[in-house]
């Protein structure tokens, strides 16, 4: 049974999710939470793909979502490994304290 599918609503939800994730990345201090927010943003993108696939009756949107899923799994494993290393070396998860890469013009 096909009732009318409103892609517009779903896209608004996806946009909301994306903005939520982005806000999380920008405001959170803990690096784990920042990673979780990035996952939310990825899922927002996946939702937009699925909605677009349903709108035009194309399987590409679902294929793309599977790709995103696989990529997110790979990304989170690398990301968590990095987080572990950061914790080992700096004994903190606070992104404000991790400023090793800033430019120090007067020191070189």
């Amino acid at each position: 049974m096909m009732h009318s599918f409103n892609a517009h609503t779903v896209l608004v939800v996806a946009a909301l999710l994306f903005v939520l994730g982005l806000t999380g990345v920008l405001t959170r201090k803990n690096i784990i939470f920042m990673l979780i927010s990035v996952e939310v943003m990825l899922n927002a993108a996946g939702l937009a793909f699925v909605a677009a696939g349903a709108q035009w009756h194309q399987p590409d949107g679902q294929v793309m979502f599977l790709f995103i899923l696989a990529m997110a799994a790979a990304e989170i494993s690398v990301g968590l490994a990095l987080v572990l290393q950061i914790y080992h070396q700096h004994k903190t998860m606070d992104v404000e304290d991790l400023e090793e890469l800033r430019d120090r013009p007067n020191e070189n």
């Binding site: 990345v25 920008l26 920042m34 890469l101 013009p105």
Partner: protein, 626 residues
């Protein structure tokens, strides 16, 4: 045979410069003097052959090889000898050989015996290339070659900074003339599309109209080249300082041969000069003024070699005067006799200087007549020729025609004649002064040792030539003997005279009287009435004039204020290099930008994300708006 004359000195140069350090002194002397002497003997043989059976065109050509070809300029290394070149080749090799023989004695105690002879041989070779060259490019090669050798030999005793400065000065001042000459060559090529000398002389009358600005410019540029090399006004200041070199160098390069290269160039290019009457007039004026001014300076010098240097400038002034008057053969004849007597004077002066522990001040010499009779008599022969003592000296026969043409030639006038007559008086005066002060009076410095045979034989030979060499050409109202001008006029035209001239004898009488008057004045001041000089030394005006003349009419100071000081001022101002500031500024702006942008790299992850976000928003907005 022609090629081997030029090749022998180069061979000597190669041997001496490559193996000179390992050769014993006697071998160096044999190679150095031998190569040039052999060239001189070959020249004499060749000259006899040339005079007996000269080719129809009067020119003997010898193509050696093609040097280079570029566009429609094709330059070959080819030698050509006509009567004019032959005279120069003869003087270069013959006087050169005598000076080389003299040098084997004069330089015997010098550390750099081989270097000296290597440079001298290279000089002779380059000078031969200059006068044998068939095209102007090869001529220019020889021209620069002799300039380089002159530089090397003026600064031969390089350990004294003054000598190096003199060498630099000579090189730089002649360079001004050389540059002008090079521009002249470019103009010749752009007009005629050839640098081959016979072709230029043949095509020039058809291509240029007489007195046109372009040909006048070319002639003046060539004249400027000659003025630099021949130390004529206003480029004469280098020659007195060039006396820093050893005496044989002064004799060979700065009296007999190299400084007359300008005379050769103008004589060789005579067709171009004849097409530019204004340039001819300027040549005559330059010569006339130079001979007078340099003569005045020679009167008051106290350094024996500087007296001779100024007299050289003055005598070359006579040659330029003759060239400007169109009296080509008279100029070349004066070159011919001048080479003998001026080389003799320098060599004799060298002998005196060496005998007196390198004393060059004539007022600390004196009384040498009894102690060094041979040097005295040879010096006397040279001085008599320089003063143009009538009949018994070569200088008379060559200078008398120039004085005559200064009045009688189409270009001649009373002013030029007056200048040359004044020059004759001055020359006779300073010759007398030189003889009386150096050889008369009482001895002031002890004589160390007398010159050996290697030095006295060239002196005696040159002395004999200084007396008799003039007799091959007599003033034609006295005796019809004109071997020299007959030879030269195969190549160069005869002078054109004015109409309705007074008798030549009157002018000769005037010249003789003036010369004798000069000698008498010198005798009076430096032997008869010495009190006059003492009185003059008290008058400040006369002392000032003397110092002004001593400094060569203040030309050195003039050039110092006009060119050297402004140049040094610019260098002081531009010490930090104004152009470099621009590039330093560029670098500084880059560093500033770098500082500015590197503040954004603050290590805060949040900042970076915000940056990325703003970038994305910017791109999306851009896409939506456009």
């Amino acid at each position: 045979m022609l090629a081997s004359i030029a090749a022998l000195p180069f061979l000597g140069f190669l041997l001496l410069s490559l193996a000179g350090r390992r050769l014993p002194r006697i071998a160096i002397a044999w190679i150095g003097a031998g190569s040039v002497s052999l060239a001189a003997i070959l020249t004499v043989l060749y000259g006899i052959h040339f005079l007996q059976s000269s080719p129809d065109s009067g020119v003997d050509r010898w193509l050696l090889w093609q040097w280079f070809t570029a566009g429609n300029l094709s330059v070959s290394v080819s030698l050509s000898v006509d009567a004019l070149s032959l005279v120069f080749i003869f003087i270069i090799t013959f006087v050169g050989a005598l000076i080389h023989i003299y040098s084997t004695g004069y330089m015997r105690q010098d550390r750099d015996y081989a270097r000296f002879f290597a440079c001298m041989n290279l000089f002779v070779g380059a000078m031969l290339v200059l006068v044998m060259a068939d095209n102007l490019v090869l001529l220019y090669l020889g021209w620069e070659g002799v300039g380089m050798c002159s530089y090397l030999l003026i600064g031969f005793w390089y350990e004294s900074p003054a000598n190096c400065q003199a060498a630099n000065k000579a090189f730089l001042v002649t360079r001004i003339g050389d540059t002008a000459m090079l521009i002249g060559l470019f103009l010749v090529f752009s007009a005629l599309h050839t640098l081959n000398i016979p072709a230029i002389l043949e095509q020039a009358p058809g291509h240029f109209t007489k007195g046109a600005p372009n040909i006048t410019l070319i002639a003046l540029l060539l004249l400027a080249g000659g003025m630099g090399k021949s130390a004529q006004l206003p480029l004469q200041t280098w020659l007195p300082d060039a006396m820093a070199g050893p005496s044989p160098v002064s004799a060979l390069i700065h009296a007999a041969t190299m400084v007359t290269a300008g005379v050769y160039l103008i004589a060789r290019m005579h067709t171009l000069f004849q097409l530019a009457p204004a340039a001819m007039m300027i040549t005559a004026l330059v010569g006339g003024v130079t001979l007078f001014m340099a003569g005045c300076s020679a009167m008051v010098q106290t350094d024996i070699k500087r007296i001779l240097a100024y007299s050289t400038i003055s005598q070359i002034g006579y040659m330029f005067l003759a060239l400007g008057l169109g009296a080509w053969s008279a100029a070349i004849f004066h070159f011919f006799t001048h080479a003998f007597f001026k080389a003799l004077l320098f060599l004799a002066a060298g002998a005196v200087i060496e005998a007196l522990h390198h004393e060059q001040d004539i007022f600390r010499m004196g009384g040498l007549k009894a102690r060094m009779p041979l040097v005295f008599y040879t010096f006397l022969a040279g001085a008599a020729a320089l003063a143009a003592l009538p009949f018994v000296s070569a200088g008379f026969y060559s200078k008398d025609p120039i004085l005559w043409y200064a009045w009688s030639s189409r270009n001649g006038n009373a002013f030029l004649w007056g200048l040359s007559l004044a020059g004759a008086f001055i020359t006779a005066f300073y010759c007398t002064r030189l003889m009386l002060v150096v050889f008369g009076g009482e001895m002031k410095t002890r004589v160390r040792e007398l010159p050996g045979k290697a030095m006295t034989i060239p002196l005696a030979t040159l002395a004999v030539l200084s007396v008799v060499a003039g007799c091959i050409e007599w003033p034609h109202n006295l005796l019809h003997l004109s071997l020299f001008s007959d030879l030269i006029q195969k190549v160069l035209p005869a002078p054109v005279l004015k109409e309705q001239l007074p008798a030549e004898g009157i002018f000769q009488l005037a010249a003789v009287v003036v010369t004798l008057l000069g000698i008498y004045t010198g005798y009076l001041l430096y032997h008869g009435e010495k009190s006059i000089l003492v009185r003059w030394q008290r008058s400040p005006g006369k002392v000032m004039t003397r110092n002004f003349l001593l400094g060569g009419w203040g030309f050195d100071q003039l050039y110092d204020t006009l060119f050297v000081q402004p140049f040094l001022f610019i260098t002081r101002v531009n010490k930090t290099d104004v152009v470099d500031r621009v590039y330093e500024g560029l670098a500084q702006v880059n560093v500033k930008f770098n500082r500015l942008l590197s503040t954004t790299q603050n290590g805060s992850l949040r900042w970076y994300i915000a940056g990325v976000l703003i970038g994305i928003l910017f791109i999306i907005t851009l896409q939506l708006v456009l």
